[in-house]
């Protein structure tokens, strides 16, 4: 296998983002998150435009970013909900991950959850 991970941490491409990882549990039927934060320096690129949705409830901003990482990034699993990634002050929640682990990296598509 060709390890192509080196390029995603190249300073020409890499940015800092924070991963908020959940390992919560149910308490009386309510999922109570238990999160830890750690930082990753790796490539972050737009996946879909930051878009304004004009609704009767106000203007919402939506959009998706692609985050690359040598570490595994998680969608929701049995013992935690999807990783939340904070990039330039905006929070994104992972909606899908491409498991390119054998080639040395993971690519996560995350949807903006900060409404504005």
């Amino acid at each position: 296998m060709i390890d192509v991970s080196e390029i995603i941490e190249d300073p020409d491409f890499a940015s800092d983002y924070t991963v908020t990882r959940d390992a919560g549990e149910y308490v009386k039927g309510v999922w109570v998150p238990d999160t830890t934060d750690f930082n990753i320096t790796s490539a972050v690129v737009p996946y879909s435009p930051q878009q304004a949705e004009y609704t009767e409830n106000g203007d919402f901003i939506t959009g998706e970013m692609a985050f690359y990482s040598k570490q595994v990034l998680y969608t929701t699993r049995e013992d935690g909900i999807s990783d939340v990634l904070t990039y330039e002050g905006v929070k994104y929640k992972i909606s899908h991950v491409k498991l390119w682990g054998k080639f040395g990296y993971y690519k996560a598509i995350a949807m903006r959850i900060s409404t504005i």
């Binding site: 009386k28 039927g29 309510v30 999922w31």
Partner: protein, 188 residues
Amino acid sequence: MMTRIEFEQELVTIIQGITGLADGFVRVGYQLQGQPTFKTTENVILVAVTLFDSDYDKPIEKSYKEDVENDVLIESRKMTVGYQARLTIYGSSSVDNALKIKAMVQDNSIMKNLRANEIFLISSTPSPQRVPILLNQQWYEQVTLDLRFYAKVVYNKERNYIESVEVTIVTDTGEELEVAIVDPRPTT
């Protein structure tokens, strides 16, 4: 008086007691940040409380009470509201669990904590509905059961009131008469 989430969590406890499902297998639905779903081999129940329209929720009773300790007048507005708890019951035991819940919620001892909070089950519970769904290419058992309740809710507000007022009566000849206003409440 319980909040919506307190009511849902009390229902979670009640349903766990009736069905014997372990902690985490009876869950509150529509959680803000999401929650892990379940495996198709598991029996899981989701609880979501909403409201239903009823003639009983139209009258709003207003009453006043003096809070002597804090020297304020409290205005209370009381009304009856209709709560509908929708149970979405998944898994191979879903029909059995639905019927068991429908029967056992009539047990007064199970519902005593809700009654203590002025939430009362409407005993004519509709029949459960079985509607299997396709999840990840597998047909999965799904049954819905609606439990209905009437609850008393009370909202209080401090109201201003007149403690004293100075009154002067001036007659048509210009004479001023003294007037005494007497508090009719007994002094203690």
